[in-house]
Subunit: 197 residues, 2 copies
């Protein structure tokens, strides 16, 4: 309801997308306010006025990232007829985008901040929580497959989800280390060999 006042001179969403790209590439602690304002094309007070502070801007950039990625992941998870195909499609999709040109390699949620200063603890917690949610989505899909009969009743959805989550995290690091899509696909192929029979 802020129809009054001087109108914002920049596209808030474009600026946010630029911030997301920098955080994704350099991580939370590796990104300075100077990096952000330069990439976003705005001055510091404009950033603070529109986004609060560095931490809030990161949280919003992360939400944008998830919003962009969620569509395809959700599609891969839900549209496949069996849990196994759903998990494999999710892994294959990530193998593709993690090594894609024109964007930072690997997953922003996994790579942005794993260790750091006590001051950045809230950001680490935020990211850990998002990882936990992702793992839960895998688990729910596997449990659904079990309920629908395409996953053996002897399988342990929680354990399988933890395993495929670890694989996705390892793939993010491997992608940052320069692995090609083919190499990531090789990891996916091997990982799918663990599916319960």
């Amino acid at each position: 309801m802020a129809s009054t006042g001087r109108p914002r001179a920049f596209d808030r969403q474009r600026a946010l997308a630029a911030a997301m790209a920098v955080f994704w590439e350099r991580g939370y602690e590796g990104t300075s306010l100077a990096d952000l304002t330069e990439a976003m094309g705005i001055n510091r007070p404009s950033l603070y006025g529109a986004f609060g502070n560095k931490e809030e801007l990161f949280a919003e950039a992360l939400a944008l990232y998830e919003g962009i990625e969620a569509e395809q992941i959700t599609k891969a998870l839900n549209e496949a007829p069996t849990a196994r195909e759903a998990i494999e499609a999710t892994l294959r999709y990530n193998a593709r985008v993690y090594a894609q040109d024109g964007r930072p390699r690997g997953c922003m949620i996994v790579l942005s901040l794993l260790v750091g200063t006590p001051e950045s603890r809230p950001v680490r917690n935020l990211l850990a929580e998002r990882r936990r949610v992702g793992e839960h989505e895998l688990r729910d899909r596997i449990a659904r497959g079990q309920a629908e009969g395409d996953v053996p009743s002897s399988a342990a959805p929680r354990q399988l989800a933890a395993f495929y989550t670890a694989i996705l995290q390892g793939m993010s690091i491997t992608a940052r280390d320069g692995a090609s899509r083919e190499q990531l696909d090789g990891i996916v192929a091997t990982a799918m060999g663990c599916w319960p029979k």
Copy 2:
């Protein structure tokens, strides 16, 4: 041959071990010179005199870390009679130490610095190289198993090594996120299901 001059008043190896602990816990960029000197119990000029600078100190701390870990890993890899047992022993060992109390969780080589500023690129390259070496050791052990006949000739050592490396990296993140040894062992158990038959 520096028998002359004022003798060093601190234990260099103890100070290095303290630096290693801080780098391991907070990562390279998350650790400040103030953090280091406080943990090491020395003043700044002593640190620079004994270790060069932050980057060289990190490299030496990393070498110490590898030296400590290498013994058990090498033992696990070489003493098992088959490649499968060797890989599983390595994974089990890491599952145990990653979640062990009294030390930072996860692997220092994996977690210390994955993304960051352009200035820290040399450190990232150093860590990526160490990860590559670790992967190569797994590969060599699998290839040896193939030569010795306990691994199917149809198996792909390179692909298997990439897979188990990804698992170890994912386990490091999972451990940092608070996973118990039992949870990590569950991942190991699932991952061993991918072993070629």
